[in-house]
């Protein structure tokens, strides 16, 4: 069982972002970076699969500059066996361009299962895995909340509106992972030390044509501060009036 997990390095989301001077992205100064949450679930799910099967290994792949090596090392310290950096100076916004590079790498890898997080938590497009599956001609199961592999076949559960969906698929396949499947393990020091000795291969990314770019990025308008109309029963008529005319909720 050979599993590839494609992971992305993303900024911590719970900060007040600033728009960069270019107006086409966020100001990266002072941001903290880590593996995208859904990708973390995918790595954990992959590790648990190989542990359960008692065989196979997990490889992790990430696209980007040398900074992504940190993210790859984290996956290695969690237990992945090998990491590949598809090196490019700037990660394009276009999922197709990225998917082409990933597909080129994955094609040669001979993987039984290719896993993604259901989307990156920064771009939140959730598209890459579809394009990769298409390029490789493999079946895709999107947003799995449970995943089992037995006898060369996979079964997965997907959460859908008001219920669940159980699907079966042949291997090899592409799956993307939703939260709730497994909480990513905290790497032990033993894992971190072991990760230092694991292979991390660097290859130039064979990006596809970039057809989608960000033109302008803006922050949502700041919310207006609350207003005090008055106090006690006397303020009610004014409040009702404002709710009708300004907030238009009545």
């Amino acid at each position: 069982m050979k599993i590839a997990v494609c992971i992305k390095r993303v900024p911590e989301m719970d900060v007040n972002f600033k728009i960069a001077a270019s107006g086409k992205g966020v100001d990266e100064a002072g941001l903290k970076w880590d593996m995208s949450d859904f990708d973390g679930y995918a790595v954990e799910a992959a590790l648990q699969l190989t542990e359960k099967l008692g065989a196979g290994e997990v490889h992790v792949i990430s696209l980007g500059g040398d900074v992504v090596q940190e993210t790859l090392r984290k996956a290695l310290s969690m237990g992945a066996a090998k990491a590949v950096q598809l090196k490019c100076d700037a990660v394009p916004y276009d999922a197709f361009a990225i998917a082409a590079a990933l597909a080129a790498e994955l094609k040669a890898g001979g993987y039984d299962l290719i896993m993604f997080g259901k989307m990156s938590i920064d771009g939140a497009n959730g598209v890459t895995q579809f394009v990769v599956a298409e390029l490789l001609g493999l079946p895709l199961v999107h947003a799995c909340s449970k995943l089992e592999i037995a006898g060369g076949k996979g079964t997965a559960r997907r959460e859908i509106e008001g219920g669940g969906e159980l699907v079966a698929f042949p291997l090899p396949a592409v799956v993307s992972i939703d939260e709730g499947i497994a909480r990513p393990r905290y790497p032990s020091l033993k894992g971190i030390m072991a990760a230092k000795k694991k292979p991390l291969e660097v290859r130039p990314a064979q990006l596809g044509e970039v057809r989608l770019t960000v033109e302008k990025m803006e922050l949502p308008p700041a919310r207006a501060a609350g207003r005090i109309i008055g106090e006690g029963a006397g303020a009610v008529p004014e409040l009702v009036k404002l709710l009708q005319t300004e907030a238009k909720v009545l």
């Binding site: 911590e12 719970d14 900060v15 007040n16 903290k32 880590d34 909480r183 393990r185 905290y186 790497p187 032990s188 020091l189 033993k190 894992g191 971190i192």
Partner: protein, 703 residues
């Protein structure tokens, strides 16, 4: 003839004893190396104070003096035992031949009186073991039978000693009756007994006494009474008492090539941890003061130590080779003769003897270490095993992971942004180090705020109060603001030494960049960590806890206080472990309170100062759920409320939170104040200052 027989018996006994002694030393060596011969003067002082003067034993007002008596008696009687041995080897020897009369009489009197006293003590202790059965002497595989046997042996030693000297007198040896009052009285009983019979009794009694001494000696290695031999060396070799060594966790070398970090088994502990196992007297003092144990958790520090010994004796023979003589394991060792060597090696201390749950229950309050009469460090074993759980196995309570991750990402155990760190200081005109540095200025002190003091709403009030005091006193101080990061204490206490070292190094870098010399902090955990543990990484600063600092400012009259007299507030001060037992700061907070409220009436909870009960938050427990038993903070709060206090004073943001939470659970309206708040409320009001006074803020409790 009988001298030849005695010489033979003696040689046999000593031979067997030395065999056992060597065996036990060989077992110790499966632990790893550690230098415990540094700082000899401190060690010698501990030996005198704790070992010989028995200061720790005497902390228990009942059993303490009785046991101390047995110990001192034991020392005195050794002089007599030597005489007996010499007598056995040299026909007709007595000290009388080498000592001048009066000195010899003194010797006789000492033996006689000691024997009587020890006999009485033994009777008391037996009564306690058999009839009273105090709680702390039960449970955790305590060997009561063993204790009763040893007590009986000591009793028999005393009886034979007295009978021997009484028959001596009856046979005509003539010392003044005044130096042997008991024997003299006993001798009267033999007056009517035929000479030959008395001689026979004398002979038998002497032999019995001599043989009992040798039996006692050889029984020790098979009993918890091994402490008779090892407790003094253990006290000498211990790091549990003395400035600079108290409570500082060992630095780990993270670069070493190893499969196992921390301790999963006895082979990963140091020889000294293993010697602790030999030294344990199973007295249960540690367990009886353990907040986790008191409130019904699985943790018992005694069990930790006894388990360490049990596991050592189980596995060591398989490692060093050679079996226990006659298949007689040391008391407490599992009787695993049938088990194969492989099965023994397969076992380990972690999981097979000590569970995860026990290890995570510890609040690192140090009460156990403080109480142990033979200077055992239970906490070090717990800490080493926690390190194993985290660093090697990544096994810890679920709630801990977000704290680790947040420490890594945000430099704080809570998911707050560094940019929010100095929000409390807005509008207070407090410079950051960076600002001062830019202006080419230096502060007198750096106020290290700490994560809790920066982010927790309740603790922020303490932070503000302390800053006000500093301002009122005209102290030139600065904060690090955004640049402050957690010193790593929570990570280290939770076993994550890797994360800790990253954080500590980062903090030290920041401090060194600004050439910081003096640091004042209102958090005892920061205080302990920066002051006592940062030196391990080259961070050397003068660190003062805000209670001490405030007390000094008040003593120097530097804080302008309002002079009011009418108010009278009954207050109970709660000692925090990292201030008290870790750093010996007990008086400063109390003094600060008294000075701030000249008419304050300070009341003490039954458990206070070095006997204080933990609030339950230390050792990373702040980030873990308390699922089993009663809540430690509630127990503590009840105790504080029972003093009748109208307010509770603390000097730690963790204690503050815990006691406030407990207050809510108990629906108590008694407020909790930090000492800084009490003092700040008394600062001479500048115009327009509307500071709340402690007595007005009662409804604040439980915020």
């Amino acid at each position: 003839m009988s001298h030849v027989a005695f010489a033979l018996v003696l040689a046999l006994a000593l031979g067997f004893f030395s065999y056992n002694a060597q065996r036990l030393v060989r077992y110790l060596r499966i632990g790893h190396d550690e230098n415990r011969l540094n700082d000899i003067p401190r060690r010698a002082w501990n030996l005198l104070r704790i070992g010989i003067a028995q200061t720790k034993i005497l902390r228990d007002p009942l059993a303490g003096p009785v046991h101390a008596l047995v110990f001192w008696g034991f020392l005195v009687l050794q002089v007599g035992a030597l005489e007996i041995i010499a007598q056995g080897l040299i026909p007709g020897f007595t000290y009388a031949k080498i000592l001048p009369g009066p000195l010899y009489w003194l010797f006789l009197a000492s033996q006689e009186l000691t024997a009587a006293a020890v006999l009485a003590a033994v009777a008391l202790l037996l009564y306690r073991r058999i009839v009273v059965k105090p709680r702390r002497l039960q449970g955790d595989g305590v060997h009561s039978g063993d204790a009763i046997f040893i007590l009986s042996l000591i009793g028999a030693l005393m009886v034979t000693l007295l009978v021997t000297s009484a028959t001596d007198r009856a046979l005509g040896v003539d010392h003044p009756a005044a130096v042997q009052p008991l024997s003299a009285a006993l001798a009267q009983l033999f007056a009517s007994v035929p000479h030959g019979a008395v001689q026979a009794i004398h002979h038998v009694s002497w032999w019995l006494h001599a043989l009992l001494i040798l039996t006692f000696l050889n029984y020790l290695p098979y009993s918890k009474h091994l402490h008779v031999i090892v407790s003094l060396p253990n006290t000498f070799l211990s790091n549990t008492s003395g400035p600079g060594t108290v409570g500082a966790m060992k630095k780990m070398d993270l670069e070493q090539e190893t499969e196992v970090f921390g301790a999963a088994d006895v082979t990963h502990l140091s020889w000294k941890n293993l010697l602790d196992g030999y030294s344990c007297t199973e007295c249960g003092r540690c367990t009886s003061v353990c907040p986790a144990n008191i409130t019904g958790k699985a943790l018992s520090p005694r069990k930790i130590v006894v388990n360490t010994r049990q596991r050592l004796l189980e596995v060591a023979p398989a490692i060093v080779g050679g079996d226990d003589v006659f298949g007689m394991p040391f008391i407490g060792a599992a009787r695993g003769d049938a088990e194969s060597r492989a099965a023994l090696l397969d076992h380990k201390l972690l999981d097979n003897f000590i569970t995860e749950e026990e290890l995570w229950s510890c609040t690192s309050c140090r009460a156990c270490v403080y109480e142990c009469p033979v200077s055992i460090d239970q906490l070090e074993i717990i800490n080493e095993m926690r390190r194993n759980l985290v660093l090697t196995e990544s096994r810890f309570p679920e709630e801990v992971q977000p704290a680790f991750e947040s420490l890594e990402r945000n430099g704080s155990p809570w998911a707050f942004q560094p940019s929010e760190r100095a929000q409390w200081a807005e509008g207070m005109d407090i410079p950051t180090m960076a600002e001062l540095w830019e202006r080419g200025e230096r502060p007198d002190i750096l106020f290290w705020v700490g994560c809790m003091g920066s982010f927790d709403d309740r603790a922020k009030k303490t932070t503000v109060a302390f800053a006000r005091i500093l301002q009122a006193a005209g102290i030139k101080f600065a904060i690090l603001g955004q640049e402050e990061t957690c010193n790593g204490d929570p990570a280290r206490r939770m076993g994550n030494e890797y994360l800790y070292q990253m954080l500590a190094q980062q903090a030290i870098e920041t401090l060194n960049r600004y050439e910081v010399f003096t640091i004042v902090t209102s958090c005892p955990h920061c205080f302990h960590q920066i002051g006592n543990e940062f030196p391990q990484f080259g961070g050397n600063y003068e660190v003062i806890h805000h209670s001490t600092y405030i007390e000094r400012l008040l003593a120097d009259g530097m804080v302008p206080l309002k002079h009011e007299t009418g108010e009278k507030l009954v207050m109970a001060y709660h000692d925090s472990c990292y201030l008290g037992r870790y750093n010996d700061v007990y008086d400063a907070p109390r003094e600060a309170l008294k000075r701030a409220l000249p008419v304050v009436q300070l009341v003490e909870a039954p458990r206070s100062r070095d006997k204080g009960l933990c609030c339950g938050a230390g050792g990373g427990r702040m980030w873990m759920e308390e699922r089993v038993g009663q809540r430690i903070n509630v127990e503590r709060k009840k105790e504080l409320l029972a003093t009748g206090a109208e307010a509770v004073a603390v000097a730690c943001p963790f204690c503050m939170t815990m006691l406030n939470d407990a207050g809510m659970k108990l629906e108590s309206t008694v407020p909790v104040y930090d000492i800084a708040e009490v003092v700040a409320a008394r600062i001479e009001a500048r115009s327009g200052d509307g500071e709340a006074r402690p007595s007005e803020g009662r409804s604040e409790a439980g915020e």
